[in-house]
Amino acid sequence: MRDIITESNASVMKNRIILPILFLIILSAIAYLPLVNRFGYTHDDWYLMYSAGAYGPSVFRDIFSVDRPMRALVMIPAYLFFGENPLYYNLSAYVFRVLGALAFFWILSLLWSRARTATTLIAALFVIYPGFLSQPNGIDYQSHIMGLAAALFSVALTLKAILSDSRTTKLGLHFLAMLTAVFYLGQMEWYIGFEFFRWMCVFLLAARNGGTLLHKARRAVEWAYPALAGPGLFLIWRIFFFESERGATDVDFQLLKFIQYPIQTLYHWTVQVAQDLFDVTLAAWVIPLAQLTGHIQRWGGALVILATAVLVVWLYRSRLGETSTEPEQAEFTREAFWLGALTAIGGLIPIAMVNRDVLFPAFSRYSLVSSAGVAILIVAALIHLNRRTLQLGMIAVLSLTALLTHHANAVKYANESAALRNFWWQVAWRVPQFEKNATLLAVYPAGAIEEDYFVWGPANLIYYPEKQNEKNIQPGVFAALVSQDTVNKVLARERQEYDKRKNIVTYANYRNIVILTQPTASACVRVIDGMRPENSLQDPEAIRTMSPYSEIEHVLADEAPHTPPEVIFGPEPAHGWCFFYQKADLARQQGDWEAVLEIGGQAFDQNLSPADPIEWMPFLQAYAATGNVERLTELAPVVTADPYVAQQACGILLSMENLSAETIETVDSLYCPE
């Protein structure tokens, strides 16, 4: 590489450090910041933030005591600083992601001080690595990202200590390396793969002094043995003192399989590492983007193309891959290749050993440790390409892929946050209060509901934001996933189910459910009344099956309404059709047909109407109850355009009591099938 060659003067040196740092900050900002203010709570954030809000931030000690107690060291101060606002957590996550990249750049600079272009490119690929998709999940991933930065700083400090001449400095740096090692392992025990990276780096430095493999290894240990202290202390505590209650983080539990079936387990681990290696090196650049293509926005595409063009121009000027001497380049590529490959593999071994694997998008976090190795490996491979245009072309493809992936991922998160906020605002308009201990079943229009707390989290933040139980962390209302298992349990009328996860106690009750469904983004949220179920054409079949069991009495219609906290759910949305629908539906539950008519009048005056015809139901019932045959006749063509809705309208309207003969005749002739 041309820039391995010389470092002529101080100002050039300064530029050679400041410019890459600025470049990394700007590149990562393009990848992660454009939609940062639109990310809300997601995934585990729901139970974490509910618990902290209701029981105080010290609750993190209880929650993390089951698997990673030291995460409380991050989450308690973070909550004290940022409160409930997701924006601050996401900004903080970005800052630590950049700090991690800078620490990585520092490591690379210590290893190859003259290969500035290559090391900058490696750090750039690391910071925009598209295999890690949880960056917008800034609250829960605070620990992951802070741990990542700490791990890389720890490695850098070890290398700096080795290269330092002063004994005091050496000691101080080793001590700091130990502290940061304990800290990062405390955040994520599977980050222990970074120890492979640390020792590979040390070995690489030691190997430069020559000798046999044994000599080099011995020299590496002599230089860096204090670095064993941090992980050593952590492992002693983890194996001998700490009792993990969670299978995935329990060392004994995970190793038991190995003791019982050593050969099969070893084979399984080997295959898993091989498959994961493929995932982190190649699939990470393809699969996530293929999964997210539909979320790419034109402005995002333009921004990404522009950023890539700048990157390619910079690399063109920097002349990547050229050196003053052939041996120097060969030495760099050889070292980088082995360091990258072994780091990528080493980062995956602890993950395979706890029977986890890299999977996009759900388990993308497991690619984090290896991503450092992958970035090094890719640049080493690129330098092997003899054609400059091919090199630049490949870098452009990598940059485009990575930045587009992060853009699309951010759009997806932002859209899901918006959809979820809208959902709960509608619930707040519709439901003044949920009965305590009711079980909610929800269908969101966007984003999968993977855990019950995706539903009880927001519900409790609105309806039961205060402490509910003196002994346990326990929410006020519970939830169950809409799944085949739940359908079976609901149909079998199964009873309350006790569950304690992360010290949070819930009691989902399959005889005590209320269904909230918003099958599409254009539809409104509907609270299903099992006595008179109304289903949209778009409702999932599981909802259709369980609808008769949904108990509307868990909606306490006469309580004072609750307003969703703005910091979590955003400001109240404009009052469109769904606002009036929810208010009318609430009035219907209260039996106040006059109110339904009045609300309908307000909506229709504004030319509002439903996108989903099932939302006509409260109004149709009100017209039927008040004998407004004219309006029923007027609406019939609109409603019967959807035979499925018409069929339900027919059944529900004719089952109403005290209808006039004329109304019955109108309904029968206009809404009921022949």
């Binding site: 995932d279 493809v397 079949e541």
Partner: protein, 656 residues
């Protein structure tokens, strides 16, 4: 190439059956004769009939022979490609061999086991390479007679391959690119070279030109996906959105064909395999990689005796390969299609050879020889492992489908004509209603039911959200001509066959007394009450599924006895149910899906055998979903004695 491709493609060849379009095409040919292929392909690709008719006459619809034939054509295609490439880069023995070899085992094409329908694709590829080769030979021959013969041969094979697949017209761009390579080697400026390329190509231009004239002005296309006018029409109605979609589709397809074909199918197909198949697949991959690397090393030594005149071939191969890839994809993208794995992998076939040329050239650009070897080894490993997993998956589908229909044959003597079936296979994958009515008609109506027409004897409803809503709405019969087969699916007139999990038996849902497995999917739960078992004709003779398609009768395990018992229950013969039960239990057989106890539990209840009801209760109530169904069904059965109802209430009902 022969040995390695046989190891990759042949292991499961006897386990493949009908897939996708095979169901309607083979049914139509079986009941109406091979002339039906003219009508079938007359709507979009008339030339395909001239391939399918002789093949059907030869193979009589047996999928095994079609798979052998597909393998032979695939191999022949690769050999033709090798010949073609050596006409251009005769000195680069190793690279041309590597390209042809990688093309032969290209993991981006996953439809090899779907051999019946893809016969035309593979023959088309072979003919295309022969046509391109003959075209190049024609330009080199000085003797006019030979030139005319070669040129004539190129034209004939050219039209022949285009008659199989119109989107193969991308090969005509490849022809132009291959003509350009020698032209660009000569001296002179780019204008002169372009002119030389053009004039060399000019005689061959009659191939695409005549074909397009026929296709656009004379041929009446009835199929939307192959109608150029309709496909390009979107550009006029929404130009910006269409252009944007084309760019995205092109980029995605380009990356898929060139790079991701070597990885994405591997992750989709191979990684989820169970441990034993994973080991087998990996072992095959490693053996293939080692054998190939050994062979390549030998070739490389032989090659190195030839002095490397220049490195220009790498530039040529890279540029020509990329251009071939891009032009091959343009036609696909303009037809609003995209190369996607695994379903639309076929659209990458035209570009695959070009993409591999570029890949091999790219590998040869690497300065580190060990890296080159490692990459080539990885490519072969990935291909072998991917095809192993792909073959296993196809074989698994066939096995599962055969088991399903054998169980139906045990349960259902005959289906009422014009009834509709809703089926739920344990591995899903029912994308068309023909996947259900196809096998059903091969068993129950393997003859012409309506003179002068190709009409299915029984029809099928694809179980999706739309069907659920139509059933609830009690919608009426819908006519659909499935290319040549007339079908009349009826949402008021159907019976459900469901095998909710691989360990379950096929369960015929009776809407009057629906019983559902714990594993049953939600749509079946919703529409179960509408299923009408009266479409099963109980007094007819049982039909035997044809062995060439459904294999020999499987061993008679639990499911045989369950199906027979369910049949007797429908006949109301409780004594027969008890006898069948004893036969099964005496062999130590028992259901893995607890709902399958139902016919026997009902028979015990009818026979007043409370001891057996009590004995079975602990096993059954382990699944509250099943227990509740037994509780509700038997508690409400007026024919049962009070003491039996008391046993049911005590042992099967969960207190409120």
């Amino acid at each position: 190439m022969l040995v390695v491709s046989a190891a990759i493609y042949l292991p499961f060849i006897s386990h493949f059956g009908y897939y996708n379009d095979d169901w309607y095409s083979m049914y139509a040919a079986r009941v109406n004769g091979t002339e039906v292929f003219h009508e079938m392909y007359g709507i979009d690709r008339p030339g395909r009939a001239y391939v399918m008719i002789p093949l059907y006459e030869l193979f009589q619809g047996d999928p095994f022979y079609y798979n052998i034939s597909a393998y032979v054509f695939r191999l022949a295609g690769a050999v033709a490609l090798l010949w073609l490439l050596r006409l251009i880069w005769g000195e680069r023995k190793l690279e041309t061999f590597l390209i042809a070899f990688l093309f032969l085992i290209y993991p981006g094409f996953l439809s090899m086991p779907n051999a019946i329908d893809f016969q035309s694709h593979l023959i088309g590829i072979l003919l295309a390479f022969i046509s391109l080769g003959l075209g190049i030979l024609a330009t080199r021959t000085s003797k006019t007679t030979n030139r005319i013969f070669l040129w004539f041969g190129a034209a004939l094979t050219g039209w022949a391959y285009l008659s199989q697949m119109e989107y193969y017209i991308g090969f005509e761009a490849a022809r132009l690119i291959l003509f350009a390579v020698p032209a660009w080697r000569s001296d002179g400026d780019w204008k002169r070279k372009t002119g030389a390329t053009f004039f060399t190509w000019l005689p061959s231009s009659i191939i695409p030109v005549f074909y397009l004239i026929w296709r656009i002005f004379f041929f009446q296309n009835e199929r939307v996906t192959t109608d150029a006018g309709i496909q390009l029409g979107s550009l006029l109605t929404a130009p910006l959105a269409t252009l944007y979609a084309w760019i995205i589709n092109f980029t995605q397809s380009f990356l898929n064909v060139t790079l991701f074909a070597w990885g994405v199918p591997l992750t989709q197909q191979a990684f989820p395999l169970d441990v034993s198949n994973n080991m087998r697949g990996m072992t095959l991959g490693v053996i293939v990689a080692v054998v190939v690397l050994f062979a390549l090393r030998f070739m490389d030594k032989t090659d190195s005796t030839t002095a490397e005149s220049s490195n220009r071939w790498r530039d040529e191969m890279l540029i020509a390969g990329l251009a071939w890839t891009m032009t091959g994809l343009i036609v696909v993208v303009l037809a609003n299609r995209v190369v996607a794995f695994p379903v639309y992998s076929r659209y990458g076939l035209v570009s695959a050879a070009g993409a591999i040329m570029a890949l091999v050239a790219g590998i040869r650009y690497l300065s580190e020889r060990r890296l080159q070897i490692a990459l080539v080894g990885l490519l072969f490993f990935s291909s072998a492992f991917t095809h192993y997993a792909n073959g296993l998956q196809y074989a698994g589908w066939t096995m599962s489908l055969r088991t399903f229909w054998w169980q139906v044959a045990w349960r259902v003597p005959q289906l009422e004509q014009n009834a509709s079936i809703i089926a739920s296979y344990p591995y899903s994958g029912i994308r068309e209603d023909s996947f259900v009515w196809g096998p059903a008609n091969h068993i129950y109506y393997p003859y012409q039911v309506n003179p002068g027409k190709v009409q299915a004897g029984v029809h099928a409803i694809l179980l999706d959200h739309n069907a659920v809503v139509r059933i609830i709405n009690r919608e009426r019969q819908v006519y659909r001509k499935h290319v040549v087969v007339d079908t009349y699916r009826n949402y008021r007139n159907f019976v459900i066959f469901s095998q909710p999990s691989p360990q379950s038996c096929v369960q015929v849902i009776d809407g009057l007394q629906p019983e559902y497995s714990t594993y049953e999917n939600d749509p079946i739960l919703v529409i179960g009450p509408y299923s009408e078992v009266e479409h099963i004709k109980l007094d007819e003779a049982f039909k035997t599924p044809p062995e060439f398609l459904f294999g020999p009768e499987p061993p008679r395990g639990w499911c045989f006895y369950y199906e027979q018992a369910a049949y007797e229950r429908q006949r109301g013969d409780w004594a027969a149910v008890l006898t069948i039960g004893e036969q099964a239990f005496s062999q130590g057989l028992a259901p893995q899906d607890l709902i399958e106890w139902m016919p026997f539990v009902q028979a015990y209840a009818q026979a007043g055998n409370s001891d057996r009801l009590v004995e079975l209760a602990p096993d059954i109530v382990a699944d509250p979903f099943v227990a509740r169904q037994i509780c509700l069904t038997l508690s409400n059965d007026p024919s049962l004695a009070a003491d039996i109802k008391a046993v049911i209430t005590e042992y099967y009902c969960i207190p409120s």
